[in-house]
Amino acid sequence: MGPCCSAGVAAPWWVSQVKGRLFKDPYRAVIQRFNRTGVRCVVVGMSGINYYARNPAETFATLDYDIFLEPTQSNVKKAVEGLQKMGFQLGTSAGTFKPGELKQLVRYRKTLVATTPEGLMVELILEVSGYPFSEMIKDSATFTVRGVPVRVARLNKLLRSKKMAGRPKDRRFLQRYEDLLRED
């Protein structure tokens, strides 16, 4: 996203928090909201791996931000309510998310996708390959983003999870990560 909106146009919900910065940071706002409301979560996936990069050149392109939520109804409910208040639209693979579906969603560990009209995407994941939530969070690393603590799963668990998922895109990614480590 570019700099802040021009005068007279209603600014999206996140702009006021980061006015004047080159990049607005909705991810930070989401994590801050989750921290404040006590949502138990940990960042996973490619976005999690990127926190371990030493400089921007070592990051990997990804179009979504994956947040692993503790798969309990109360926790997911808090997360959903928070995102809805922030203006996100929530959906599942079956279409728009309806509040009555929460129980089924948690039971079958379905993924929720939160999007904004601008196309920003945050994935709320209730299951990852190889590890339950308790294992992912127990030794997670804590990074900060301008004062907001962000819990990120351990690099070795994130990579192992990709290895265990074994999808072609995961195998290709691991190959690229090997190349990165070779240049280390």
Binding site: M1, D25, S47, R54, P56, F143, N156, K163, L181, D184
Partner: protein, 113 residues
């Protein structure tokens, strides 16, 4: 994921030997070793019987190792480099630039705007 029992150590913690427990239940001592090593499966019924002798709950006798065995990368040097990266990040490390990069990737890669 590896599931193992910890019958031998649980017996020791209670001042017994695995051989004594085995004798009481009519097992071979080697059965317990195999269960603890994860090479022999164990039924819930057997666990319940062992836990009764040891005076604990069956859950106390199970260990689940989520960490799969073996390194992620075959190359030992790369594995070491990855581990170093993993554990050399101090708590609270500022990573605001990661969000900036992620948002830039989105903008260039598929942001529908």
């Amino acid at each position: 994921m590896v599931i193992r029992t910890r019958i031998v150590s649980a017996a020791r913690e209670r001042g017994m030997t695995a051989a004594e427990v085995a004798r009481q239940l009519g097992f071979y001592r080697s059965n317990f070793s195999a269960m603890d090593a994860g090479s022999r499966s164990v039924s819930v019924k057997t666990l319940a019987r062992v836990s009764k002798v040891l005076g604990c709950s069956p859950g106390d006798l199970i260990e689940v190792h989520w960490e799969p065995e073996g390194p992620i990368f075959r190359n030992r040097l790369l594995q070491q480099r990855m581990e170093k990266r993993d554990y050399s990040t101090p708590d609270g490390l500022e990573r605001g630039w990661v969000h900036a990069v992620l948002l830039a990737w989105q903008r260039h890669g598929g942001f529908r705007r």
